[in-house]
């Protein structure tokens, strides 16, 4: 079980929760599970989302494993210059 924290605007799509508890081994599983529970988050995931695991930001690789007890944070996908 991971306590997944949500950044500001994602919270409004998840009943204004700051933290949701999700069980997942990979980013793909995580996003699938939360979108099933909070369908409004699906639009955010489609628009682009990044997942921070222990402070490292993953934008693309949904196969990335989420270690047990790791800190997981969802934030919007961001571009560079």
């Amino acid at each position: 079980m991971h306590h997944v924290r949500l950044s500001g605007q994602l919270r409004s799509a998840a009943d204004n929760l700051e933290v949701i508890d999700v069980t997942a081994d990979t980013i793909r599983e995580l996003l699938f599970n939360i979108a099933e529970r909070y369908p409004q988050l699906d639009a955010h995931i489609e628009a682009g989302i990044a997942v921070s695991i222990d402070g490292e930001i993953y934008r693309d690789n949904w196969n990335t494993k989420i270690p047990p007890d790791s800190e997981v944070f969802l934030l919007p996908r961001i571009p560079g210059g």
Binding site: R5, S7, G8, Q9, S12, N16, S52, D54, G55, E56, I57, Y58, R59, D60, N61, T64, E71, F73, L75, P76, I78, P79, G80, G81
Partner: protein, 754 residues
């Protein structure tokens, strides 16, 4: 094959050396081919007609006279660019930005285009196109755009991110929020609170090469595009979507690029060039003038930012908050969101809250500019930090050190940091001789910190071993500032061969798999990572081939210093096989020898910088001169230190220009008044001192060599570093960038009279 991304403390032979870049001779002899340097048989000249209005309904476009002019081969309006986006709003916005659809949204918005046999004819044709406009009220200021009664730019924009969802359209496209803790409780505990509004004006990336492309599309729906771009694969995807072409049938070749800084991550006139070519059935070259670049290609936001920071007398920050209003031009953007994420990223804060408002204006569509949105937020935050330090009587450097984010800190944008480098950069500043240099009259010293995320992304690399043992490396990120040299170094390091035996080439979209854009400081990070893995794959093949040549098991073959060595009692006495010897026999041992890698290179590793700046202010004129400048930044590992220093220096120079001179000036008529390098003044050689650099190397745990992105962070601190230096020089706190002579003079006058 799965590869391990982890940092391994590998001992390097060539990484960290400074060899000459492989494209150097082409670039000093004029041989290198940039966007405007290609030609094709039968090529036409394409030109674009642009709106002189900030906001207007386009009632009618009469192209009949232009079409009849001899030598004109195609005239284009939005009618020739039907909406094929299937309702995808992002693509619709790109399409509408390329060519107005019934309404001009900013001064410079494209309304029609022509292709003709030569420039003279094309210019005449543009004049023959008659457009009937009905001017509409406009707004170009970020704060005015959200006042009641401001003209609404789009009736389909309803502010996202507020609950309940609004029912009226607004110029605020989205509200975003980041942070943690309870800021009200935090401020209640503060002994001192500083609260202030900071403004920055709009600036342009200012690459010296204007946008340019050569498009060629045939009636069979196949086409080619030669273009100056930071992402030819993305351009291919976007252009083919907008024009209804098959992705595989559009080959995009990235020319050498004359600077991008984010501005060449976006298509501007390229889809129009392709559409002109398709209509004329001839190649069409479109080259923007400098005026077009300023009026109609992505500048960065103008901003207005409220910052509030509270601290105890002992220097501990109890709470920090910011409201950030960023103008994104005529289409919705995410720029305020980026400002809201980065603003307090340097600090360890228990209570922090940032709110971003992305705002529409009648200005050109904003696009990324080097660490997009971070410099403006840092200007407000880092200036406020200095004011607060002064108020509690603490040295501003010690104040920052006391509150610096460290491993385990929850970042203001959410996640908890891994090993990071803000404290080491501050300590390096503290120990730098620059901090102890003497200052003269009207001189002052300032410092500031900066943060940027850095990104990786989709990347692939082909590595082919030639019959003589030399190696050609095919990459899909472009070389903006020497990355071919860095990537060649990496291949040489892994294979154990001399740098000179590797040649790195940038492939077109038909010759290599998809690569994301060269943005987010990712070029050397991600293509370097793919190169490491491609080289390791090639080494596996080389070992197998050597084993076959020796007729021994592959397990008995190791790869060392560019050679295969047989190991063990039984085979240890075999003479080594060089890469050249193995390559020469490739045809007899299984065919060409190659290594490939496709990777999603996430984890480019966040990056921090601290800058020191000395200025001298002339109290008579308000003119400010930077007399000494030092950049300290964490690079993780500098592959080719010359080009890392170059990134540090270049970003600092752009930040200095932004801080002191550069700004978009709009008239009351909503038109840009200074679309040229004479009146939009970027720093020239005589404006700047040498820019000292100190490269810190705190390894990124998620790259085999520890590399972090280095390209962007250096533009973040200068605005505030200079503002702080000016304050220390002449005692006025500048809250509006650029800190141009008239603004400084006014601040000095106001200070004297009060």
């Amino acid at each position: 094959m799965a590869h391990d991304y982890s940092y391994t403390k590998q001992k390097f032979k060539v990484i960290g050396t400074r060899p000459e870049r492989p494209d150097g001779i082409d670039k000093v002899t004029g041989r290198a081919k940039y966007g405007a340097d290609a030609t094709a048989p039968g090529q036409l000249v394409g030109l674009i007609l642009r709106s002189p209005h900030a906001h207007a309904i386009i009632k009618k476009i009469d192209t009949s006279k232009a079409e009849k002019l001899p030598g004109v081969k195609a005239v284009l309006t939005c009618a020739d660019l039907p909406d094929l986006t299937g309702g995808n709003r992002d693509l619709q916005n790109i399409l509408e930005n390329c060519m107005a659809r019934g309404r001009a949204l900013y001064d410079g918005h494209a309304v029609a285009a022509v292709a003709a046999v030569d420039a003279q004819t094309a210019k005449k044709a543009l004049k023959l196109i008659k457009v009937q406009y009905k001017a509409l009220p406009h707004v170009t200021d970020v704060d005015e755009a959200i006042l009641p009664g401001a003209p609404i730019i789009h009736d389909w924009v309803f502010t996202r991110g507020i609950d309940p969802a609004p029912t009226e359209p607004s110029n605020i496209s989205q509200r975003t929020q980041f942070g943690h803790g309870d800021v009200e409780a935090g401020f209640a505990k503060a002994d001192v609170i500083i609260e202030k509004t900071w403004k920055t004006e709009q600036t342009h990336q200012g690459y010296i090469e204007p946008h340019a492309c050569l498009a060629s599309v045939g009636p069979d729906g196949s086409g080619e595009l030669w273009v100056t771009t930071q992402g030819h694969f993305t351009f291919r995807n976007v252009c083919s979507s907008l024009l209804g072409m098959d992705v595989a049938k559009l080959k995009v070749t990235a020319s050498e690029i004359g600077g991008g800084f984010g501005g060449k991550t976006h298509v501007w006139m390229e889809p129009v060039a392709l559409a002109l070519s398709r209509k004329a059935n001839r190649p069409v070259k479109v080259v923007m003038s400098r005026e077009e670049v300023f009026r109609a290609s992505g500048p960065t936001s103008s901003t207005s930012v409220d910052v509030k920071i509270g601290a105890k007398k002992n220097g501990v920050i109890t709470a920090a908050s910011a409201e950030l209003r960023y103008q994104g031009g005529a289409f919705p953007g995410i720029w305020a969101m980026l400002g809201a994420m980065t603003s307090f990223a340097c600090y360890d804060l228990k209570n922090v809250k940032t709110v971003g408002y992305d705002i529409l204006c009648n200005r050109p569509k904003v696009t990324a500019y080097r660490a997009p949105s971070a410099p403006m937020a840092a200007f407000g935050v880092e200036s406020t930090m200095d004011m607060l330090a002064a108020e509690i009587g603490m040295n501003p450097l010690e104040f920052r050190l006391k509150n610096a984010a460290k491993q385990g800190t929850r970042a203001s944008y959410g996640p908890v940091y891994g090993p990071i480098g803000i404290k080491p950069t501050l300590n390096a500043v503290k120990n730098h001789p620059h901090m102890r240099a003497r200052l003269g009259k009207n001189q002052g010293r300032g410092m500031a910190c900066g943060f940027w995320f850095n990104f990786g992304g989709q990347t692939c690399v082909d590595l082919n071993v030639g019959i003589d043992g030399t190696v050609s490396l095919t990459v899909g990120t472009i070389d903006v500032g020497g990355s071919r040299a860095a990537i060649s170094l990496i291949a040489a390091e892994e294979l154990g061969i001399p740098y000179e035996q590797v040649k790195t080439n940038v492939a077109d979209t038909a010759s290599l798999g998809y690569n994301d854009m060269t943005e987010g400081s990712r070029g050397t990070f991600s293509t370097g990572m793919a190169t490491i893995f491609a080289a390791r794959n090639a080494i596996e093949v080389l070992r197998e081939r050597a084993a076959k040549m020796w007729d021994i098991p592959v397990d008995a073959v190791v790869w060392e210093n560019g050679e295969a060595r047989a190991t063990g009692k039984k085979h240890g006495n075999l003479p080594r096989l060089t890469i050249k010897q193995i390559a020469a026999k490739a045809g007899n041992t299984g065919g060409p020898i190659a290594g490939h890698n496709e990777v999603v290179a996430d984890n480019a590793g966040v990056s921090f910088a601290s800058h020191i700046c000395d200025v001298e202010v002339d109290p008579e004129t308000g003119a400010t001169r930077v007399i000494r400048y030092t950049v300290v930044q964490d690079a993780g590992k500098a592959i080719h230190p010359d080009y890392v220093e170059g990134q540090f220096q270049g970003g600092a120079a752009q930040g200095i220009g932004w801080a002191l001179n550069e700004e978009y000036i709009y008239g009351d008529d909503g038109r840009l008044q200074n679309p040229g390098f004479l009146d939009y003044r970027i720093p020239v050689c005589s404006d700047l001192p040498f820019i000292d650099t100190e490269i810190l190397e705190i390894p990124n745990p998620n790259h085999p060599y520890g590399v972090r992105g280095v390209g962007e962070t250096s533009i973040v601190p200068p605005l505030a570093a200079i503002g702080n230096a000016i304050s220390n020089a002449v005692g006025v706190r500048m809250d509006h960038v650029p800190m141009s002579p008239p603004r400084i003079l006014k601040a000095l006058d106001d200070a004297t009279s009060s």
